[in-house]
């Protein structure tokens, strides 16, 4: 779930961890920041993400993450399956409402 969100966030442009954190926070998705790092590393190990170091004028160097082609592919698949699930759920929800 969180993986999907991260992939979504990185779809548009490369971000570094702080960006991702602030966006996830804005979307009320993340509780503690640290959760992100194991996820990012796992996604990177699965070859869905890549990163490059960029020197920053403020503070330490940053890792900018971006999607790989595999990642884009995965994101498209996830989009599809998510849409399907969402569709099913909305259908079921409307049915429940009708029953009530």
């Amino acid at each position: 779930m969180l993986e999907y969100c991260i992939l979504l966030l990185l779809n548009k442009r490369a971000c570094y961890a702080n960006d991702i954190i602030s966006k996830l926070k804005a979307a009320e998705m993340i509780v503690v920041e640290g959760t992100l790092y194991p996820l990012l590393t796992r996604l990177k190990n699965d070859n869905l993400l890549k990163y490059e170091w960029q020197e920053s004028t403020q503070g330490p160097p940053r890792k900018y993450y971006a999607l790989t082609t595999d990642g884009e592919e995965a994101l498209r698949q996830l989009d599809n399956s998510w849409n399907e699930i969402a569709k099913t759920v909305t259908i079921l929800q409307t049915k429940r409402l009708e029953i009530q």
């Binding site: 503690v32 959760t35 790092y37 990177k44 190990n45 869905l48 503070g59």
Partner: protein, 410 residues
């Protein structure tokens, strides 16, 4: 007021309080330990360290000069402790999801494996993962059980080396006074045999230097949460001033008594040391003198060294134990002022507490009185008997003891 440390995090310097540093160091270390079990765990820990550096940078930008423990607490709250962070180990649900997610992605990526092969592989993977994890868990439980309590010397409650309080902690006795009393009684009844044992324990048993050690010493679980709590509570105690490194669980009076007893128990050892030095110097001087006297070298050494050692032997044989005891007290009576002078000259020592000073003074006065008494006794008995006590043949022996009396009278 707090001691400040400068740390270098990815090329930027930060001034950080000592306790805050301790907490941060623990935190990063526990991250490293925690994630080292995982694939690319170092990288995760490194990322987190970067994040910490970034947050510290933000504080620095805000104009905070020195990083305090509160800031570190805030940062840890933001990033979270390892157990909160890791979705892999926390609860089953996300783990399963991610597992299936990952294999799904793999399948999609290669797209060539047959369906049955994939599910079998997946099942096997899951099985291996489960088995590995349960084995891991069992191992950790066992390790936790055995690593529950460690014997450490307690640096926060010590009279001498913290051995007794360490043993008390190890056995789970809340007040180390019982162990101390037992030690002293044993020392008295075992003819000071306990002294070398104490010294050996002092050398062998490690001091609980880090908060981690201090947790283990008390048999508490060591995990990032308890560790952080320990660091924080120690820092709070330090702030309140109740956390004095040489603080005691005893009142001042009791400490003075213990101090005196310890001083006298240590006395024979100090005296022995002085004696060895004295003997060494004497032998050295003798052999130096002999080199100029080469012709009669061998004959001369054998007699004079033999004499010297027979003198030593007669002292240790303890025919006149009273004088031997007097000598010990005399050495102590010299040792105390010398110690104070050395301390006064050498700056940078931690000042002695008032109880320490009082116990030194009391034991010193006592030693002085005993020394003077023994001197008078020795003087009288020497006047009474002219032939000397130990060896009717050796006439030099009384003069050999003379310097020791004089030292005592200083």
């Amino acid at each position: 007021m707090k001691k400040n440390i400068t740390i270098n995090l990815f090329g930027t310097l930060y001034n950080i309080d000592e306790d805050a540093y301790q907490l941060l160091d623990n935190y990063l270390q526990s991250m490293k330990n925690y994630f080292s079990r995982q694939l690319n765990g170092d990288e995760i820990a490194d990322d987190i360290e970067h994040r910490v550096a970034e947050l510290l940078w933000e504080y620095k930008e805000k104009g905070i000069e020195a990083v305090s423990i509160d800031i570190i607490k805030e940062i840890i709250g933001k990033i979270g402790n390892p157990s909160e962070i890791d979705t892999n180990n926390g609860n089953e649900q996300p783990d399963q999801q991610s597992q299936s997610f990952a294999s799904e992605e793999q399948g999609a990526g290669s797209g060539q494996r047959s369906n049955s092969g994939q599910s079998a592989g997946e099942a096997f993977q899951n099985f291996a993962h489960e088995a590995g994890r349960s084995a891991n868990n069992a191992f950790h439980k066992a390790a936790n059980h055995f690593a529950g309590r460690h014997l450490y010397r307690d640096p926060n409650d010590k009279l001498l080396g913290g051995v007794c309080s360490g043993i008390a902690n190890y056995l789970g006795i809340c007040d180390p006074i019982w162990i101390r009393l037992a030690f002293i009684l044993l020392a008295l009844f075992s003819r000071l045999l306990m002294l070398p044992i104490y010294l050996i324990l002092w050398i062998v048993v490690p001091l609980a230097q880090t908060p981690e050690d201090r947790l283990r010493m008390k048999g508490e679980k060591v995990n990032p949460d308890t560790l952080n709590a320990q660091v924080i509570s120690e820092s709070e105690q330090q702030e309140k001033g109740t956390y004095n490194p040489s603080t005691a669980s005893h009142s001042g009076c009791l400490r003075i008594i213990f101090g005196c007893i310890l001083a006298f128990l240590l006395l024979p050892l100090i005296a022995l040391l002085f004696f060895i030095i004295f003997a060494f110097v004497a032998v050295l001087g003798m052999s130096l003198g002999l080199i100029g006297n080469l012709p009669g070298f061998f004959g001369f050494t054998s007699t004079s060294l033999g004499e010297f050692f027979s003198n030593l032997a007669s002292i240790f044989a303890g025919h006149e134990w009273f004088i031997w005891v007097g000598l010990l007290f005399a050495v102590y009576a010299i040792y105390v002022p010398v110690y104070f002078i050395v301390r006064a000259i050498r700056s940078g020592d931690r000042p002695l507490s008032s109880t320490q000073i009082v116990s030194y003074i009391i034991s010193w006065l006592f030693a002085l009185v005993v020394t003077v008494f023994v001197c008078f006794y020795g003087w009288n008995s020497q006047k009474n008997s002219h032939n000397g006590y130990y060896h009717p043949t050796s006439i030099e022996q009384p003069t050999h003891y003379e310097p020791n009396y004089n030292i005592g009278e200083l």
